[in-house]
């Protein structure tokens, strides 16, 4: 995500518009990628992202092969490199990779020759399509012209929660900053990365209440208990008391503020149930937009687009 500049992001969002339109049709299918083969390689479970990518590829008439670590030769001890080379030999135009280890898509992009690599989330590192769909959702809410990315300049974005272990946060920060938004991180110090040197952010706060009134977009991150972050805060209750977006806190947001959550939500921990149902919460829109954004990314990589065929 660090490598995507503002014009490239604007292009992705523009192309997403056309595919969002496709999604609203009675028969939401176009021949854009007919004859192309796309593999999803999910070495880490993810129902949502996988379904979203596979739906995106199928709506563009691509052939989709689905590979998951649990049912594959990986279980038999095959190395990652051998797996990738096998898949490339079968003949893929793109591989969409999710891995629990940071950096795997970047390594795979070095190993393959004639195959686009799409990062569907790697470790704590990046989840670019999630950030792109967040931008698309915000742009949709803000309105604006054909491009709409100018509306991000000076937009006050607050990202709350487990930033340390979050690939979503790393991609969001890069994406918002590329478009000129001012990003503030809110978390207990233990859930921030060890160093923020060189991060394109406007500030850091440990006091959510203090930043709500000056927030245009608030993005809540899941407390990633399975990554051991439980130990980074004493109790979930204490975390929620300080950092959950409760109904009371939601009222302190400006009326036009947008509430985002990459999902899956843990209601009651980082977001109150009633807040998730507010009209300003665009969580369901995010999911729907995810398919259109991923169609755009695949189209730009495999169609006649000009995005670099590197890990996005």
């Amino acid at each position: 995500m660090d490598d995507l500049d503002a014009p490239t992001i604007a292009e992705v969002l523009r192309v997403t518009d056309s595919f969002a339109e496709v999604g609203r049709r009675a028969n939401p299918k176009v021949p854009a990628l007919r004859g192309r083969t796309v593999a999803t390689l999910f070495f880490e479970d993810s129902t949502r992202t996988r379904m979203s990518f596979e739906t995106a590829a199928k709506r563009m008439s691509a052939d989709v092969l689905s590979f998951s670590a649990g049912s594959s030769s990986v279980k038999k001890g095959e190395s990652l490199r051998d797996t990738i080379e096998t898949i490339q030999a079968i003949g893929m135009d793109a591989v969409i990779i999710r891995h629990s280890s940071s950096g795997v898509p970047a390594r795979v992009a070095e190993w393959v020759d004639h195959c686009a690599v799409v990062n569907a989330g790697d470790g704590w590192h990046q989840h670019p399509t999630q950030a792109l769909l967040d931008l698309y959702t915000v742009r949709q809410s803000l309105g604006g012209g054909q491009d709409g990315t100018d509306r991000f300049r000076g937009l006050r974005v607050t990202i709350v929660g487990d930033i340390r272990h979050s690939r979503v946060a790393r991609s969001q920060i890069a994406a918002y900053a590329a478009l000129g938004a001012e990003v503030t991180l809110v978390a207990p110090a233990t859930l921030l990365p060890p160093s923020l040197e060189g991060w394109p952010i406007a500030g850091v706060s440990h006091d959510l209440d203090a930043v709500l009134a000056s927030t245009d977009v608030i993005s809540l991150l899941r407390l990633q208990a399975e990554r051991g972050s439980g130990a980074y805060v004493p109790t979930m209750r204490e975390y929620s008391a300080g950092y959950a977006l409760t109904a009371r806190r939601a009222l302190q947001l400006p009326p036009e503020a947008i509430i985002l959550h990459p999902g899956p939500m843990v209601r009651g921990v980082e977001i109150a149930s009633e807040v998730a149902e507010l009209p300003s919460a665009r969580i369901t829109d995010q999911v729907g937009n995810g398919v259109a954004v991923r169609m755009a990314v695949l189209f730009l990589l495999l169609g006649q687009g000009n995005l670099e065929s590197e890990a996005v």
Partner: protein
């Protein structure tokens, strides 16, 4: 060695702990018999051209993972000592994290037996604790009786301060040194690289500098209290080296080594997630690299040790966080020192030869044959190095069974030309002779 023919090393400049002089070196029956200018080669003698070169005591590596027994697919004593000889080393200290570990007289005897006929002397570092598990002391006296002078659980630090204190007390009675791999597990566990700006950006779990420094500080206190000698392995942070600097000023019996990769590479090398740059302790930021160089210049660091750690290629093709740490070092150590350090060659040779020989108990002061002056009567363990020759590192051309050098493609200045092991020219013109 009695069968090796007479040898004349001609035309070089001899550099050892006693100084520097233009001299030829004549070797008979494995021993130096004459060191003087203008020696004639007797008929039948092998002549080693040392024109433009430095003739020095063979290099001594305090920190080599030979992998045999247990991980012969990564390295064997044969391939590891061939790499050592090509790197100018005539002795290596084999680390005990083999399978089985070197924590018993039987396993140490086995390594000595396997090392017979090797291309470098193989000394052994014994484990401090049984199985390197950090729970109870290994039979250190039995190992010391076999000649083991250095003990370490390398790969792991001894986590328990109480056990380390007891080990140091016990060591004082044996006259041996304890080497510590300083890494506090409660701070470093799960870490894959230096914790800092790069790890944060790359989303990789980090090991903070403090993980090393708290154990250095702890062991300095324990050395001070017990009088036991601690040798700090591969120190990598400015803070660790400052602690050692102060401890030595106070007369605490500690020594320290640093590894070539810690004065040549930074944590930013991990940006491409290539595990060839994964090592333990991890590559650090530039400030630490500068501190390591400063410690070599001011004498805080006593030795350059390679931490030669071969790993089979398939293991280095794993994702960064799953790949094992370690990099090759034997064939590049000398050239990296001459290329990257702004030190006189005699200082570099001290750091690579006679100072580590003394720490390992392999020098003449301990009845050994390594690192001693190039003088009549001494065993001819020599290296002949050309400080001006340049060469480019080609992983496929290295003698190791593994390929995990982080210096592929790098051009270095300074090359080992010949290596003589007890009078036998095991490397001639940068070619291994067996």
């Amino acid at each position: 060695m009695s069968t090796t023919p007479e040898l004349l090393v001609r035309g070089g400049t001899v550099v050892d702990a006693t100084g520097e002089r233009r001299a030829d070196v004549r070797v008979v029956d494995g021993r130096v018999v004459e060191v003087a200018e203008g020696l004639e080669a007797p008929s039948g003698a092998t002549v080693l051209d040392a024109g433009g070169c430095i003739v020095a005591p063979g290099l001594v590596d305090l920190h080599t993972h030979l992998r045999e027994p247990g991980r012969e697919e990564a390295e064997t004593i044969e391939t590891g000592t061939r790499a050592a000889a090509l790197g100018g080393f005539t002795a290596v200290v084999a680390m005990p994290n083999t399978d089985p570990p070197l924590d018993s007289a039987e396993s140490v005897r086995n390594v000595f037996a396997l090392a017979e006929g090797a291309m470098a002397q193989v000394a052994v570092a014994g484990a401090i604790t049984v199985g390197r598990a950090g729970e109870r002391l290994a039979p250190m006296a039995e190992l010391a009786a076999l000649g083991v002078r250095l003990f370490t659980d390398d790969g792991d630090g001894v986590q328990s301060a109480g056990l380390m204190r007891r080990a140091l007390q016990y060591a004082t009675g044996l006259g041996v040194t304890l080497g510590q791999h300083c890494e506090d597990r409660s701070l470093a566990a799960g870490g894959t690289m230096h914790e800092g700006a790069w790890s944060s950006r790359l989303g990789l779990p980090g090991m903070p500098s403090e993980a090393e420094e708290v154990m250095v500080a702890r062991d300095i206190a324990l050395a001070r209290a017990t009088g036991g000698r601690v040798h700090f392995l591969h120190l990598s942070t400015a803070g660790s080296l400052d602690l050692v600097r102060r401890a030595r000023a106070d007369g605490v019996p500690v020594t320290a080594e640093v590894a070539p990769h810690h004065f040549t590479l930074t944590d930013g090398c991990a940006a491409g997630y290539d595990p060839v740059f994964k090592v333990n302790p991890p590559l650090r930021p530039q400030d630490d690299v500068d501190a390591v160089k400063a410690a070599l210049a001011d004498g805080t660091a006593d030795a350059i040790a390679t931490d030669h750690a071969p790993h089979a290629p398939e293991l280095k093709d794993l994702p960064f966080d799953q790949a094992p740490p370690g990099m090759l070092g034997l064939q590049t150590a000398f050239a990296l020192a001459t290329t990257e350090l702004d030190l006189p060659l005699a200082r570099i040779l001290a750091l690579l030869s006679w100072q580590p020989a003394a720490i390992a108990g392999l020098g003449p002061d301990h009845g050994g044959t390594q690192g001693g002056p190039v003088a009549p009567g001494s065993v001819a363990n020599l290296c002949v190095v050309d400080p001006a020759a340049t060469w480019t590192v080609d992983p496929t051309a290295l003698a190791s069974r593994s390929r995990n050098t982080p210096y592929a493609g790098r051009t270095l200045t300074g090359r080992v030309r010949h290596t003589v092991l007890a009078g036998e020219p095991v490397v001639l013109d940068a070619e291994a002779q067996r």
